[in-house]
Symmetry: C2
Subunit: 349 residues, 2 copies
Amino acid sequence: MDNTKKQTALSTLGEFGLIDRLTQQIRLQHESTVKGVGDDAAVLNFDKNHVVVTTDMLTEGIHFNLMYVPLKHLGYKAVVVNLSDVFAMNAQPRQITVSIAVSSKFSVEAIDELYEGIHLACEQYGVDLIGGDTTSSMTGLTISVTAIGEAPKEDLVYRSGAQPNDLICVSGDLGGAYMGLQLLERENAVFKVNPKEQPKLEGYDYILERQLKPEARGDIMQALKQLNVKPTSMIDISDGLSSELMHICKNSKVGCAVYEEKIPMDFQTKQFAEELSINPLVAALNGGEDYELLFTIPLSDHDKIKNDPDITVIGHITAEADGSQLITAAGSAIPLQAQGWNPIAKESE
Amino acid sequence: MDNTKKQTALSTLGEFGLIDRLTQQIRLQHESTVKGVGDDAAVLNFDKNHVVVTTDMLTEGIHFNLMYVPLKHLGYKAVVVNLSDVFAMNAQPRQITVSIAVSSKFSVEAIDELYEGIHLACEQYGVDLIGGDTTSSMTGLTISVTAIGEAPKEDLVYRSGAQPNDLICVSGDLGGAYMGLQLLERENAVFKVNPKEQPKLEGYDYILERQLKPEARGDIMQALKQLNVKPTSMIDISDGLSSELMHICKNSKVGCAVYEEKIPMDFQTKQFAEELSINPLVAALNGGEDYELLFTIPLSDHDKIKNDPDITVIGHITAEADGSQLITAAGSAIPLQAQGWNPIAKESE
């Protein structure tokens, strides 16, 4: 937070004043939003479409560190991670609700910043902010977002539809968000020791953006529609490739073989991993927060997707008995392990 | 929390282990729930009905004090306060999502207790728990619940439909939840000074239940349907009668006249108010958390509701220019003021 800016105590507004301030700029965009903020509940109309609902909660000190995460980015990301789940159902996000609990250390201007990011994400992805709750907490900031989307029943894609011989695909590249977090953590540690030292972030803009301002891959969902490809299963990569692959395998009752050398990684991800003497593969497999889409398609659809630069085939689905295997560059098979980010276990480590 | 019970650290389960534990007893009840917990998002099908969505967040130390609120009751109440908002739209609640953030001071058994209350409310009100998020916090417990309901478009009741001469009605009685809170606070203060002193709660079971285990008035919504009465406006009483009346007046662009002597209050509410030398009217007008329904009906429907012991006519809607007035027993008119519970302003007081 920039401490030179004007800081107004939240208590000067009160709950209704704050709600008015935060909701005055809302312009509803969707036909499906019949009534947004301002009654006991929002009212939506999806006609014959199915409705999808997902929710995520972010807490200060666990999911984000306000020492280096700007509030605007945090607001944006809190929305995006939920939209990512809606896209992973092959559905179109339409509405969100946002609830926040804030302690008195936050000013009105700080909350404005947070909502700037929230409104920006709404605009960017064409979703309506239809409600929420605004309250106080004893310490820190908690944000809970619920996203609602719609799709014709026949378009929905679950985690459970993968079949042996299906191709396993990912969008974009992996591991960047995790390496971005490592960079921010390193510079924050340096800052704590010597507050006058300038953070060394040059040349790492891509991985920083992957961590601080991720995007949800609605574009991939649209591209697949245009290519006339309906995935047999799909999930978004929030906890790391390994964990998500195992969700698909478990839910579809299949195994998988994924090739180390096929896993797409950006140059900066590899470079910074090298700087820290980390194997970048670990960042891709277990780092999480990439918010790319992981999906399976029938082998017969390979020709349709093979020229899309944003989609990479990383392996194929096998029989359940074959297990979930990572095939290393040297050709040996290693069982995948879900060591994704685990906020509950982490706490006591 | 009963410290003699077995306490298992949450970290022994991890996030997925905890989710499995908390979701294994879920039995989906509704046709409209196509897919519950277990994918990127839940999938719902409301066919042609409109969908209503509402959300509330409760934080430890602000909304509840675990010194005297049992976790099972807290879980129950966290659900009920959201269902109350759905009923206030004249819609039927169908699904909820529940997100919690917990610090390491909570054991697996404590979270089990919380979810016992959540599951009980789901069973009691026939709603499906379809998703959520389970994560950790630096301090305390935060619960965020989103409730989803459905109704034919023509059944929905907003805050904005009240007309001059409509009758203003409330269900049940008011002020009890607030007086119950005062009682719990008093006994907690005594306990802090002398932990051996037994709390004096005898004779106040009704107001304690109003505070600790409120119910949402789906029965009133059903009763009105059977009486063939569709309210012109409706809201649930979460912040106190005064504040809710003013919401209806503001949204409907009308005024109101409410009669002090008509406001229904229970004997225990009055008795304990007297013990504390509080005017019980203040508890009813500004106390909040009663979760009764406040609604307006056309004058011509008076005969239909007049014999329902659970519905009281407390006044009537007037022209906007007449303002919102409380008519005292002595016959004088006092402008209503919304001094309902305000978690944001409260913090700095």
